[in-house]
Symmetry: C2
């Protein structure tokens, strides 16, 4: 691919409408001029107003008008089948080849369903999986599936291992990503039936650097680069980790605010805490790819702010530049061949 990646964003998808999208676009256009071409999809008038507020010249990007939008509470498949929404139009633009990758911070279920219905699956992939990245002491860990498949079949998890390895390798520069299977102890005898059935398949997978069962706490230790699990457990893990972080942050703040001495001391910590926050903030890593769809589709938090949209544009561009989907297709094919 020699042309620059064309990235489309659902401008109506997040909790805060087009404003943070426009501000994120402004940040990205300033930081990486000429690296990508941006298209915002949604209500034309609202997008133009948001661009104006963010001091972005509309000539720097494209706008595709779509009058409808998917409500956050909408049921996934019904929403995916509604015509004229910003999300539906975005997926359509990707499907017809006018965009190379798309991002929405909207209703996760609706984005997953729209991508599955609209784009289909990569050759050889049984089920796409949503992959989240968690920063930790040894850079970070990719976890999948974090919510696309509440119920899984055993062989899908092996494909998740392949897809997660490609993503870790080409997006986060892990050379030979170590893959762990989420369980409830490091001993192979532990875990549920799914774990017991997947274990021998992962051990036998020739192109997976499998290190064995891992636990929830390994996510924060950096003992492996990819954690494979079903979409139910992965989603619980994701939301528990986020909940714990925000609870601890709030608790510290509340405790400090009760104590004038601590309030004074906290002034000196601002720089250190800001540095830590930028290192572990989900706004930096919040864009999660739906790996295995026949296309490039990333999903963000509803509460995405300008920095989250900026990072998403960066991540999508890298994903397309690195041709991650081609690598996934090759790995899945090699796995089929070696199994045959």
């Amino acid at each position: 691919m020699t042309r620059i990646p064309r990235i489309g964003i659902d401008a109506m998808g997040g909790d805060f409408g087009p404003n943070p999208v426009a501000e994120g676009a402004a940040l990205a256009l300033r930081e990486w001029p000429g690296r990508f071409r941006l298209t915002l999809v949604g209500d034309d008038a609202e997008i133009r107003a948001a661009l104006k507020r963010a001091h972005v010249d509309p000539a720097q990007l494209d706008i595709v008008h779509a009058a409808g939008r998917v409500p956050m509470g909408a049921r996934a498949v019904a929403a995916a089948r509604t015509a004229g929404t910003s999300l539906g139009t975005l997926v359509q633009c990707h499907k017809d080849g006018s965009l190379d990758g798309i991002f929405s911070a909207g209703n996760t279920g609706a984005v997953v369903a729209s991508a599955l219905l609209g784009l289909g699956r990569l050759e050889g992939v049984s089920r796409p999986a949503l992959a989240a990245f968690f920063p930790n002491p040894s850079h970070g860990t990719v976890v999948l599936d974090v919510g696309a498949n509440a119920e899984v079949k055993v062989p899908w998890l092996v494909q998740f291992a392949h897809m997660g390895s490609c993503y870790a390798r080409y997006l986060f520069n892990f050379e030979n990503p170590r893959v762990g299977l989420l369980s409830i102890g490091e001993e192979e005898s532990k875990g549920n039936q799914l774990v017991q059935e997947v274990l021998p398949l992962l051990k036998g997978a020739r192109h997976v650097n499998f290190i064995g069962p891992v636990e929830g706490r390994d996510l924060f230790k950096g003992t492996c680069d990819v954690i494979v699990t079903d979409g139910f457990t992965g989603n619980v893990l994701l939301k528990t980790a986020e909940g714990a972080a925000s609870f601890l942050g709030r608790s510290v703040r509340r405790e400090v605010e009760k104590d004038p001495l601590a309030m004074f001391g906290a002034l000196f910590l601002k720089g250190a805490l800001r540095r830590l926050r930028s290192r572990i903030d989900w706004q930096e890593y919040g864009a999660a790819p739906l790996l295995g769809v026949n296309g490039v589709c990333f999903i963000g938090h509803g509460a995405s702010g300008p920095r989250a949209f900026r990072s998403a544009i960066d991540t999508l561009t890298t994903f397309i530049e690195q041709r991650v989907n081609e690598h996934i297709r090759e790995e899945i094919r090699a796995d089929h061949d070696s199994a045959a």
Copy 2:
């Protein structure tokens, strides 16, 4: 029950041997004199040496000698069947009626297996479940099962709801505990097959104050008082929450240590952080009951320190004083009757 509760502790069970046990006993004996009678089970000489170091007069408690111990890595059922271990002797003392409740910070699988094999189940209970308590802004939340049953059947979860409600009510003073079912969204259409099948049963359970599906992050919000889930997902949740807390703590410390200004400021925060820590520290709440066994059996972290043993003695005593098992038996019977 008019006599004071007789509490037994596996003195060899934790990572650090009898020393923290003796120190924890010293704290508890000083704080609640006459409220319980303590028995330490394990190597007589080692226990006496530890008591001496902790300045505890051996006449204040009983010692039951057991020469063997269960290694942390031992397989659960094999360990439970080994004769002469401190754990096996402890369970035996409970079974023969010379103790009213037991606590071990040893190999969790071995404690669960020993309790199941040695004590059996409470009348009407299909499967015992391990219940953990997580502190949060609205006091805290009981989660079960956090690891006794990696694989569950649908009706067991309804029993978990009953048992968890009794524990929340009588140990933590929740008047009419709100019970949530762990899922991946608040909408009833979300979740895996288990969730879909359990939902109508929990909604129909007359003695359960069921509020619907909850997510991992609800654990830290205090939106419900009891969270019910299978032992695989619950264990992932437990270890993820613990891992997140320790990761954030370490990250803040590391960031502060890099910055002399922050180091200076941190001096003023010590009091506030110490208060927070005592409020959310697992050593205060780490003793988890195996609810549904025909007895009182609590399990602690391997890394339990003196404060953890002290809290465990307090929690077990309260559990026995409050006759939680009688309440569980009644609830399970009422549920059977209303279902019949």
